[in-house]
């Protein structure tokens, strides 16, 4: 295990835990942005440059800002009385720990996992663009349609209903 991976993994996990446990929701959103940035750095370390920068653009740039806006619009940034966790939090943590234990046991017991990293592939952005316009052109169009539908749907849902009987 390299030092770079250890530092990035520690940063990502610590900020994800902070995002899930902090009381103030604005702090949660900031910790979440740090976790997304750590993941983007791990993608860059795995020589997936395009995905790393897309992660920074979409998650750190757009999704984190969207979450901050939702927090401000719903006045969730104000301190709440009582616990921020639900009453059955022990069951939730237990389920998550069980899922993690099962996944880790499976990973540890699988024999076929590669131990050595292959030579870095020449995954230039040009190749990604070529494939996206040839082999994956139908999924690309479907995703474009999905994003348009989501855009219209989000605006319609969040629009204030004025002329309601």
């Amino acid at each position: 295990m390299t030092a770079g991976f250890a530092i990035l993994a520690l940063l990502t996990v610590a900020s994800a835990v902070a995002a899930m446990t902090l009381r103030n929701l604005v702090h949660c959103a900031l910790a979440l942005a740090v976790a997304f940035a750590g993941l983007a750095a791990i993608y860059l370390q795995l020589s997936a440059q395009f995905v790393g920068f897309a992660q920074i653009l979409v998650y750190v740039g757009a999704v984190a800002i969207l979450i901050v806006f939702a927090i401000l619009l719903t006045r969730s940034g104000e301190p709440v009385a009582g616990s921020v966790f639900s009453g059955s939090w022990i069951a939730g943590v237990g389920i998550a720990a069980a899922v993690f234990a099962v996944l880790t046991a499976m990973i540890r017991s699988s024999r076929g996992l590669a131990r050595r990293i292959p030579e870095p592939p020449q995954a230039a952005v040009r190749d990604i663009g070529d494939q996206m316009m040839s082999q994956y052109v139908l999924p690309l169009e479907v995703v474009g349609l999905l994003l348009t539908a989501a855009l219209i749907g989000a605006v319609l849902i969040a629009m204030r209903e004025k002329d309601r009987p």
Partner: protein, 103 residues
């Protein structure tokens, strides 16, 4: 060199953290954030398997993650719009208080 299992265990850890957050937080926005963290854990698995796989030139894992990021962005936008709409109706985002279907 980090073995592939290092990335897989990191991804499992992130998935468990996101699942715990989605299950135990009372604020609906934080439930959505937990789901986003789980999606990111899945993306990390795709990239790790692509990088350590036998045929990285095919770019299959990278393509899947790009489309997955697009779908996750759409999901976050619609989910947060729903939460804002629910907040306007109930004046709260506490998922334990939003318990009636029509009111």
């Amino acid at each position: 060199m980090t073995p592939l299992s290092g990335y897989l265990i990191l991804s499992a850890m992130l998935f468990a953290i996101g699942l715990a957050g989605a299950l135990i937080r009372r604020n609906a926005i934080m439930v959505l954030v937990g789901i986003e963290v789980m999606l990111n854990a899945a993306n990390l698995n795709f990239i790790a398997f692509w990088r350590y796989g036998h045929n990285p030139q095919a770019l299959t894992g990278v393509m899947f993650v790009i489309f997955s990021i697009a779908v996750a962005a759409a999901e976050a936008a619609v989910g947060l719009a729903l939460i804002i709409s629910i907040y306007r109706h109930y004046k709260t985002t506490d998922v334990e208080k939003i318990n009636s279907m029509k009111g």
